[in-house]
């Protein structure tokens, strides 16, 4: 009951931190998509790069998240603002599912369909935009979904370097040994992740039925 009282009493701050949290995770995911999806496409075109690209994205994932935030502190320009560090770190984590799913989605398109397109005189660009990407879109959105959920979860740690977000409540609650305050951060963060997962899951299923219309 105390949890609800706390939420109501601090609803202004809960709302602010939630919006901050959405901004951190949202901008990071968009940034990761803007880099990761083209990279995923690139390695289907230049296969000899695929090992290096997927390998690097994999290594980034193995760095403990708190350490990655710390590593970025001395970076020029980025290190000046906590928000920038947080967004960059989150984007780096979101990169792997985006690259991997874009790559796997395009590789998974029926080769007979791709060859039919080529044989009919589609240019590489037309083949990519009219055939491969639409048919891979379900798998790519699945990657966006994973990246978004991971970003929303990890963004709670951004508060450790002063970047704000719902992690503020969690860290404050930990310091105060007060579960209500921890929950005021954790519950909205979990709800955000569930909502994003649900919405992107619906989009993914809709695009998936498009793909299976074969």
């Amino acid at each position: 009951m105390n949890f609800f009282h706390f939420m109501m009493a601090n609803r202004q701050q809960v709302l602010e931190l939630t919006l901050e949290h959405i901004t951190l995770a949202g901008v990071a995911t968009l940034l990761a998509a803007a880099v990761g999806i083209p990279l995923g496409i690139l390695i289907t075109r230049v296969p000899r790069l695929s090992k290096a690209v997927l390998g690097s994205a994999n290594i980034v994932q193995t760095i403990p998240s708190l350490a990655l935030f710390g590593f970025l502190l001395p970076a020029p320009w980025i290190g000046e603002r906590a928000g920038r560090i947080a967004i960059l770190a989150l984007a780096l984590y979101a990169l792997l599912p985006l690259i991997r799913n874009t790559y796997a989605g395009i590789q998974g398109v029926d080769p007979a369909v791709v060859e039919a397109g080529r044989a009919m005189g589609l240019t590489d660009r037309q083949l990519l935009f009219q055939v491969e990407l639409p048919l891979a879109s379900g798998v790519i959105v699945a990657g966006v979904r994973i990246a978004t959920v991971v970003s929303i979860g990890l963004a709670t740690i951004a508060a450790a370097i002063g970047a704000g977000g719902l992690g503020e409540f969690i860290f404050r609650g930990l310091a105060m040994v007060n579960n209500e305050v921890i929950l005021a951060g954790a519950v909205p963060a979990a709800l955000l992740a569930l909502a994003a997962d649900f919405m992107l899951g619906r989009l993914e299923r809709r695009l998936g039925t498009l793909r299976s219309k074969s």
Partner: protein, 264 residues
């Protein structure tokens, strides 16, 4: 598109070989097809039939010799232009699953920027030509039967009225009755169209029904290239083996079988 001159050579294989990783998939092929003529490439799997087709629309380039389409080597053709001037039909249609029937058929006209009304008119015309109801235009390939998909595949290949049509075992995945219907309709269609047609199959009966000439291939080599009527009488041992394999099928004894009609 200009109407093809009769007797003009549309496709010419001039001592063409194709090797992949040191293995010869095609060896010294000499073959030509004229406008208005239907050549059937007959042979078992791995004999080089599909490789031969892919050399025509430059999905592959020869490692020796030259393939000429309308007098120009495929190596000198702009591959995009070349492919848009050749209709290509593959097994089970190879349709785009995310496009409706209409968009599948209209693919080449659309990328060639035909005006919208002309594309729509062409789609209606082609649906009628391949015997499909106009109501199917808004369906997706998964909502069609195998025979309907194959008809859409043929319509798509004919969309921009190419002078050359190449077909890779187009009716191979169909049930026998639908296949037989499609073969008869295709024969009628082809007599009206006057295109240069290369048709790949491993079915002798289909070859005898559709071909003006039959080229038998084996292990990347052309064995014989004969007018369809003379083919069953050839003394070549491989031709004999083929004819025997098909005449030993029980249904070829049926009186209305096309094979027995042609073989007699």
């Amino acid at each position: 598109m200009t109407a093809p001159l009769t007797n003009a050579t549309a496709i010419e294989f001039d001592h063409v070989s194709f090797r992949l990783n040191g293995r010869a998939l095609l060896e010294d092929l000499v073959l030509s097809v004229k406008a208005g003529e239907t050549l059937v490439l007959l042979g078992r799997s791995g004999s080089g039939k599909t490789t031969t087709l892919k050399l025509i629309n430059r999905l592959l380039l020869p490692t020796a010799g030259e393939v000429r389409v309308n007098g120009t080597s495929t190596a000198d053709w702009d591959p995009i232009k070349l492919r848009r001037s050749i209709g290509y039909v593959i097994q089970d249609g190879g349709l785009f699953p995310h496009f409706t029937v209409e968009r599948n058929i209209a693919l080449v006209p659309r990328i060639e920027n035909w005006p919208r009304e002309r594309v729509a008119a062409r789609v209606r015309e082609l649906l009628a030509l391949v015997g499909l109801s106009p109501e199917l235009a808004s369906r997706y390939p998964s909502q069609l039967s195998g025979g309907q998909r194959q008809r859409v595949g043929v319509a798509r290949a004919l969309a921009a009225d190419p002078g050359i049509l190449i077909l890779d075992e187009p009716f191979g995945a169909l049930d026998p009755i639908t296949r037989s219907e499609m073969q008869k309709e295709f024969r009628a269609l082809q007599q009206r169209m006057q295109k240069a047609v290369i048709f790949v199959t491993h079915d002798l009966r289909e070859a005898l029904l559709l071909a003006d000439r039959i080229a038998l291939m084996e292990a990347g080599r052309l064995i014989v290239d004969l007018p369809a009527a003379e083919f069953p009488r050839s003394e070549h041992s491989l031709v004999r083996a083929y004819v025997e394999a098909f005449s030993s099928l029980p249904d070829s004894r049926l009186p209305d079988s096309c094979a027995t009609a042609r073989l007699a």
